[in-house]
Amino acid sequence: MSLSIENLLGLEDVPQADINQIFDAAFSFREVLERPVKKVPTLKGTTVVNLFFEPSTRTKNSFALAEKRLSADTVNFSAASSSLQKGESLKDTIQNLCAMKIDLVVMRHPTPGSVKMLADFVNAVIINAGDGTHEHPTQALLDIMSLKEKFGQVQDLNVAIIGDIKHSRVALSNIYGLKTMGANVMLCAPPPFMPVSVEDLDVKVTYNVDEALEFADAVNVLRIQKERQASGLIPSLREYRNRFGITLERVASLQKPITILHPGPMNRQVEIDSAIADGENAIILDQVLNGVAVRMAVLFLLSGS
């Protein structure tokens, strides 16, 4: 059993068989996470570099924990991209790392494509931990795994993604992953947050949140970045909440239960009401646990390639 991919740069080209394998392995690692000793020696002697060019708390911690649970040796390298602006080229940074004989690199960078560039230069396995507004494959995998856990299968599931789709790497990876797994996807956002020609990805598009909720078995609620208002894309957070927020009233008016996901961190009472985020149909904390398991699975399966 091996994955067909050598690096995890995004979900755009990852086949269903690979995703299923990652989920199978992730469910195995879930069992490890329930043990009193939550550690296995699987990646003993494997060196993983966590290369973060952008601040991250959740993803970084999740990867760090996954690596520790697998007994990998880890090196953390954080650099603001501003230091690169001062002259050192990304290639120099990458070649420097390469010379250290590492096995895996987990990389986050503010610019789309930077992770692919790393993969082109370095003889190591590369895992994308988010490249700008492009992809965030492990986040989408953990989202979809949580859906699979909840619903048994993802095929034919109706999933709505609501929020700032255009500036979201989570949304794009989810669209690719969900479509590969046979789900139906609807996107819901204010028009300036809807990416150009996104219908070409075989997704439904709406500006009406009630329509999205009506359609969906599950909704993935994206974080609204407060800077967007300042840059003139939407008039106010108040209007956003009124028009697009997953409010108690909206959910209560539905004639069905609806599963709630959120990649975090949440702006409570903006894109989602606390009562919904903490409610019985939210699987937001399962996502966090599955995040560690999925990352263990990806590290394990790619380290063997």
């Binding site: 059993m1 195995s28 043990r35």
Partner: protein
């Protein structure tokens, strides 16, 4: 790779007898079945473990807990192989602390799988003791590991392999000696 069968080592009938004999030996050596639990190593070990437990329950009229251990995460060779072994779930539905554990596998060869299994078991808690039961000991050990209960010792050449088939997944109970076709 294609394999040719060179010999039937044990047929279905003999395999049943082997299980019965091993069950008796286990009860005897462990001085009864208090705190006894059986853990099978995936994949074939799982089915052998369940049969041993069934047989012991028949003899002793008391239930024996059975768990399944997946040792892929503990193996030292997974990266040297061309293909990753498929990762499956470990399912041990009891507390291993202070248990007399019988670790079960179909064949013992180099001893590396058992080494990995011992690490995995000790990560799960602190058993009172661990004993090892196998159907076939085919020799060529690379680690100082000896099974406590052996169905049959069968000398093999390194290029040969022992195939244990169980009817639950292979339609048929039998043990074969096979060799890769050149």
């Amino acid at each position: 790779m294609n394999f040719i069968t060179k010999k039937t080592v044990t047929d279905s009938k003999m395999l049943g007898r082997m299980i019965t004999r091993l069950s008796h030996e286990i009860i005897e050596k462990c001085k009864g079945i208090d705190n006894l639990a059986i853990v099978g190593i995936r994949t074939r070990g799982e089915y052998i473990a369940k049969r041993l437990a069934e047989e012991i329950e028949n003899i002793e009229k008391t239930e024996v807990p059975v768990g399944i251990l997946d040792v892929v995460m503990y193996r030292d060779d997974f990266r040297s192989k061309n293909k990753l072994p498929k990762l499956k779930v470990t399912d041990i539905p009891f507390d291993v602390d202070n248990k007399k554990l019988i670790l079960v596998d179909d064949v013992i060869y180099t001893g590396r799988t058992v080494r990995a299994a011992l690490d995995a078991l000790t990560d799960l808690g602190r058993p009172a003791s661990i004993k090892l039961a196998v159907l076939i000991d085919r020799g060529h050990r690379e680690m100082p590991i000896m099974p406590n209960f052996v169905g049959k010792e069968f000398k093999t050449a390194p290029e040969e392999e022992i195939r244990v088939k169980v009817k639950e997944i292979d339609d048929k109970d039998e043990i074969l000696l096979v060799e890769a076709k050149k």
